[in-house]
Symmetry: C2
Subunit: 359 residues, 2 copies
Amino acid sequence: MAENIKKILIDLGKKVVNDIFKNKNPAIDIPVRAISNVVFNEKTKMLSLGSKTAERFFFNIGHSKKFLQTLEIAAISKSLLDVAKHASLRDVFYMAKRTIPGSNINIVDEQTESDKVIEDLELIADLSREQLNINANKMGSVAGNVIVEDKGDIIDWSKLGSGGWSIPSNVEEIKFKKVNAKYVIYMEKAAVWERLHEDRFWEKQNCLIMSSQGQTTRGIRRLLQRLSQEHGLPIFVLADFDPWGMYIYSVIKYGSINLAHISEKMTIPNVKFLGITADDIIKYDLKKNFIAMKEIDFSRLKQLSEYQWFKNNKNWQRQFKMMKDFKAKAEIQALSGRGITFVSDKYLPEKLKNKDYIE
Amino acid sequence: MAENIKKILIDLGKKVVNDIFKNKNPAIDIPVRAISNVVFNEKTKMLSLGSKTAERFFFNIGHSKKFLQTLEIAAISKSLLDVAKHASLRDVFYMAKRTIPGSNINIVDEQTESDKVIEDLELIADLSREQLNINANKMGSVAGNVIVEDKGDIIDWSKLGSGGWSIPSNVEEIKFKKVNAKYVIYMEKAAVWERLHEDRFWEKQNCLIMSSQGQTTRGIRRLLQRLSQEHGLPIFVLADFDPWGMYIYSVIKYGSINLAHISEKMTIPNVKFLGITADDIIKYDLKKNFIAMKEIDFSRLKQLSEYQWFKNNKNWQRQFKMMKDFKAKAEIQALSGRGITFVSDKYLPEKLKNKDYIE
């Protein structure tokens, strides 16, 4: 596996060397990653890149630094693969940051430069950053009836006390040894995860519970995708009733503009939004725990409702309209006002039993 | 244990009931938590509360709402202890938030109100929030040669693959079954933790590695403190060379103003700062990865240098001065510029061998 990936990087280098020996201006083909080339594919239901490509030339004042950076990052990635080590984005920045001999120019000055080139390389090589041994930040926990093998250890996600397994930033090499669960609930809040875990929700319902804190890491997205694709588990998102919670769902399902080039390796087309919905607020009497929407919430809600994948979706338009009418948002933890175990004992079992979720 | 804690809360309620039957104005004694009553105790080397106390009365327009809130939170805590469940701060807010019958006044309107009263209750009852079954957010990972028992599960921190054990928000009930390590390194960055973990640093050095992302959670502080107090392990902090990294160390060692009332249950007086130090920057040639300090960094540095516990500490004053002279900060990951495993293979082993750390 690592050998195949290295071969792709070596071939990239060979291509450049060949150009040089043929007295050609060395060039790399690269799909355009501007927003103008991001399209929502109605068939695959994913944000993806259009067909525009560009060539990056060595002998071109506008291109030459980027060209150099691209080869530098490819070389760093190959050196990581050589020693079977992984680096964070920040590490890669520092590994690339040095002054070009005989000049006062640094290969990179800011991490944004190396980050962008890493994303370019994902495209050029058709490999994910994780496959290039470059990791994002690690965050989040998981519990349930699953046994995995990772780095030679056998890890039983059902026997890890109150903490659970800490999800690594890179889950590509994890092997699933046993998956005995009917579905996965992913939630945006660690505190809600601890609630469900203390109530042994995953045991009673035979499911998996997974959380981050705030944004969904790439490690979590890939872990969810692998559980969906390789084990056919339905994935449910439990988020706040606000534009940000709904966007978390949107990214997991359709991808994001930034990572449109890697949608296939990240998105989960059949993920479902379990709650909190506008209807839940009425049914479970959560209005007393409303939080008034601010200007920024309204403008984000408007953006959300105009996204191509939501625009013609009646269910979502209904949610957006109700939120606008409420002029208010509500958090998952608002359910605690009905009792500390209400979310585990009543809300979630009832929602799942009644198939009361939105797509 | 839970019975003793409940008894303290029940006694608090009985005291109020007795006041009522004696026709006295019901009152609760409470140490003053204002900054004017926070002192640095030179003997214990901890930030702690001074001796000022105040009485909170029911029949006092300025006190009555806080009085009610205090009893409400005590009742919520007791109800959690009754069913052996834990709630997050946010949960407790929603559990307390309701309208007083026959009025349009809510018991609490904002989480800041319930949070403050929870801290008051820690003082009144001389119990930590964790003992009151109220948890903060969970974050962070740990790995090393330790076996714990938690919720009936036996968890081996050395056999958890690339993820490690996800540290729970509340570590009070964890039992240490085996602790086979010489020391603990706590670092502020999850990416550095993954670096050391991939390099099996804890195995080679027979230590524990622990991290959060950003601020140190109460769960982590208590876990570090328990490893220090119950197992005599030295604790080292690995942080960025900037005022914020140094403050992370300061809080772990001396406590913080906000939590001065609970310093004894949190602080670790013999924790050591392993790096990044100003001397490291020179010795390991990290200047090329300097980041220029901004206005806010300079003013934070000034504050830090004037703290009572740093003011007369020559080692620290030297560090502060060198940072000021450098006009620059540096991150742990700057070490990656020297090679991806430099931190594990050279920097840390050398620092530890030479006892090259600051107190």
